[in-house]
């Protein structure tokens, strides 16, 4: 299940207002985002869960630093980036810091995040099944078979949904959205 920026922001704002269930849902969604964020940048799997937990605690205790007018995913990733850099600095390790420049480069990161958000926004304009199929197979890296099992639909259904969805997006891009 992948929540959109709007859903996450609504959860975050409700959490700030004292809604414990919304806060729980936000932290759970954040944990998934963080896990893939750290996995992509840090190969040592045993550290990844520590980083996820560390960042979740920071997101919780420092939630007053979220500006409700801004993207909550950008804020979550900014906290994660600080935690990762801090982690690497503490360890001063010679192991795999491949991609650190990418993490450190704020500008590149911001545009990557907003590109991701643009994609999310475009997918939101598609019928739910097509958007889901594209997310599963093209963004989350599932195979057609895995996506079919996960969603309980047939493989050909997944393929057709991806195909139709991409075609609709391409048409929309050509027409200047």
């Amino acid at each position: 299940m992948r929540e959109s920026e709007d859903e996450l922001r609504a959860l975050m704002i409700a959490g700030l207002g004292g809604d414990a269930r919304a806060h729980h849902a936000l932290l759970s969604a954040a944990a998934r985002l963080l896990r893939s964020f750290f996995m992509r940048r840090h190969r040592d799997a045993s550290d990844v869960e520590d980083l996820v937990q560390d960042t979740l605690v920071a997101i919780h205790t420092r939630r007053a630093t979220y500006d409700t007018a801004r993207h909550v995913t950008a804020w979550i990733y900014a906290v994660a980036r600080y935690k990762l850099i801090d982690h690497l600095r503490r360890r001063r390790l010679g192991t795999n810091i491949e991609g650190l420049e990418e993490v450190l480069a704020v500008e590149g990161f911001e545009s990557a995040t907003s590109a991701r958000m643009d994609v999310d926004r475009m997918l939101d304009t598609l019928p739910a099944k097509q958007a889901m199929a594209i997310r599963d197979t093209r963004l989350d890296g599932m195979s057609i078979a895995e996506a079919a099992v996960q969603r309980g639909i047939s493989e050909s259904d997944v393929k057709i949904s991806v195909h139709r969805g991409l075609k609709a997006l391409a048409a929309r891009l050509k027409g200047g959205r």
Binding site: G18, D19, A31, Q53, H60, A64, T65, A74, W75
Partner: protein, 213 residues
Amino acid sequence: MQTQDLIEALSSDLRRVPPHALERRLGAAAALGMMVTLILVLVGLGLRPDLARAILGGMFWLKLGYTASIGLGALAMTATLARPEASHISALKWLLIPMALMGLLGVVDLAETPFSAWGYLWMGRSWKICPFLIFALAIPIYLGLMIAFHRFAPSRLMMTGAVAGLAAGGLAATIYCLHCPEASPLFVLTWYTLGMALAGLAGALAGERLLRW
């Protein structure tokens, strides 16, 4: 601990975060620090003897406006730097405006003063201690801000420390105006600014350690 258990623990007993909690926390910390600084000025230095007359003149308020605009401007910037996405502070350049205005006043002052008295315009009577007193008076305010930052998430630690130091210096200098009888724009531009800059420099160095989270 499992991540799922952690999430349970964090979201149980959840406290509401009121709107503008960050700004309020910063403001309260600055106000508390300024109280300590005010007490230090009142007890340790004393008010300037001619205060009652000085508040009727323009220079007292120009000095106050100069230091307060830098102090409050920098304080507002710390609110931005308290958020993790803050990458740079473009507003910092606006602090040059009060400096330029004070410089302009200084030039006018020089033009109206015979050359033989220029040295006094620049050095006054207290140039040797003024920057250091401002620096010392900034410490309680700076520490107050650091305590407020315990709940914040700055990502540019040195920059944040510098701006917090500058804010503390500007606010401390504003209180110091109650004691300091110097009335020359050039004096203020040079020695007050030096005191605030020292606070900013020390703030940057200390901030890198104090602000880690």
